[in-house]
């Protein structure tokens, strides 16, 4: 492949990924409202289009035509760049996610690291937005978000390090290649780590907390903080925060799919693998995220931090030690470990 086709391919992928992030956010909002409605024995949106399917488009038009207010006390520069700081890293992380064997914008050897590097910038966006708003609720919310993100990044990274020890690579496509059928999904790979399903659950909880989803949405606890860090944002400024949140949910569930559930590989031999499997697994996990959100009440900040520091971190450290011991005693046949 020569240099110029590579450039065109990358541009096409970037446009596609941005479109995916936007459409996906729009329709996840619709799905969220439907799921929430049915869980609460309501119907959810139904007026705009069949099954309310055109609702996201109407919402989008509404958001874009609204005035973007700039309250008098805010820091104009930081206030404006914060929504972009939340969305851009999420879109950048999509660049290394393999949707199928060849459907990946840029395959790099340290893909896993890249996702985490960009995910860590997301917090900065929340902080800058909360602070730039010059609103005490927004500042409190930003402080909560940071303590939460710092607390949950530790068990998450320890779990990921455990997985990298098993896989022996940080290339996301190679990790998927090592899990050709359901018995070799890393969530069931007991020969590598007897706590593999626990690792999956820790990873999933941490990704819930990192994306500030209920029951961990202390940053935007409506009853106490109005809307948290995006209290002062109107119109598309708020829209970008929302898109960033949903893009981050997709990134988190994609990583869970890739690391533990075989990515785009088919679980059964008679159906070929491909992007459809990847999307099916990702959207199933997203459905679980919504299910959890509308089932459990919001935790307290105290309980949230205790869960991370007193339960998740010790268990993930134990898992790290156990996995290291297992790998030393019986090197994996399938993986590169």
């Amino acid at each position: 492949m020569n240099a110029s086709t590579e450039v065109y391919r990358l541009i096409a992928f970037l446009v596609g990924l941005i479109a995916f992030a936007a459409l996906n956010a729009a329709y996840l909002v619709w799905l969220e409202r439907k799921v929430c409605g049915h869980i609460q024995r309501r119907i959810g949106p139904k007026e705009v289009g069949p099954y309310g399917l055109l609702q996201p488009i109407a919402d989008g038009i509404k958001l874009m035509t609204k005035q973007v207010m700039l309250p008098p006390q805010v820091d104009p520069v930081l206030f404006r760049i914060a929504p972009a700081l939340v969305l851009i890293p999420a879109v950048m992380s999509f660049v290394v996610i393999p949707f199928s064997e060849n459907l990946v914008a840029r395959e790099i050897n340290v893909g896993l690291l890249m996702v985490f590097a960009f995910a860590s910038v997301n917090v900065l966006g929340l902080l800058v937005g909360g602070w730039g708003s010059a609103n005490k609720y927004a500042v409190i919310s930003a402080a909560r978000c940071v303590s939460q993100n710092v607390a949950y990044e530790i068990p998450m990274l320890i779990t990921v390090i455990t997985m990298v020890m098993i896989t022996g690579t940080m290339n996301l496509n190679e990790i998927v290649m090592q899990q050709p059928d359901i018995t070799r999904w890393y969530v069931f790979r007991f020969t590598a780590s007897p706590l593999a399903p626990v690792a999956f659950i820790i990873f999933f909880i941490c990704s819930l907390a990192e994306t500030n989803r209920a029951p961990f949405d202390l940053g935007e606890a409506e009853s106490e903080l109005i809307a948290g860090f995006h209290t002062e944002y109107s119109g598309m400024g708020f829209g970008l925060f929302f898109m960033g949140e949903y893009a981050n949910i997709v990134i988190g569930t994609s990583l869970a799919t890739i690391l533990f559930l075989g990515g785009w590989q088919s679980p059964v031999p008679f159906i070929p693998g491909g992007w459809w499997w990847f999307l099916a697994k990702v959207y199933f996990l997203i459905f679980c995220v919504m299910w959890i959100r509308w089932t459990y009440p919001r935790t307290t900040l105290w309980g949230l931090l205790n869960l991370s520091w007193k339960i998740l971190i010790p268990i993930s450290l134990l898992n790290l030690l156990l996995t290291g011991g297992m790998l030393k005693l019986m090197p994996l046949a399938g993986g590169a470990g």
Partner: protein, 173 residues
Amino acid sequence: MPMLTPDGLAGLIFIFLAVVTLAGAFIAATALRLPRAVAGLALGFCGLAGIFYFLNSPFVALMELLIYVGAVCVAIVFAIMLADPGVEKARTARSTAIPAALSLPVGALFAWGLIILARNTMWPAPAAKLNPGDTVDIGHSLLTTYSMVFELISIVLLMAIIGALVLARKGRD
């Protein structure tokens, strides 16, 4: 158009990244509001990460992002978070003419010294094959050639953790 050759584009990208880094550093040094200074610092780190990526070391570039933007900047912001966000740094009453006049020759002298040093040092020959960000090689050198440094750094971190615990304990009882 000479700009559109691969080398020309690479040069443009390098200049862009250098400008971003310097602009970030400039904002960090001159901003009157602390939040803006931290944002400038983060911008500078991003530019620096871009330069590392440009130099074919994606691993270092991503570590720069993960640690400096994602951890150091967030920690700084968190530390000064409880300050009033609207307060501007008080302008000092001292005359700035003498420091400004002094800083130029001192800075020039420093830059001249660095340039002399950079030009006269026997730099090791650049690696024949540029490392494609391979973590295996980095792991090997961290645990063989640089193991002493690696261990010393971890002792520093351990001391920092113990210090933080001691300080936090004091406030509690």
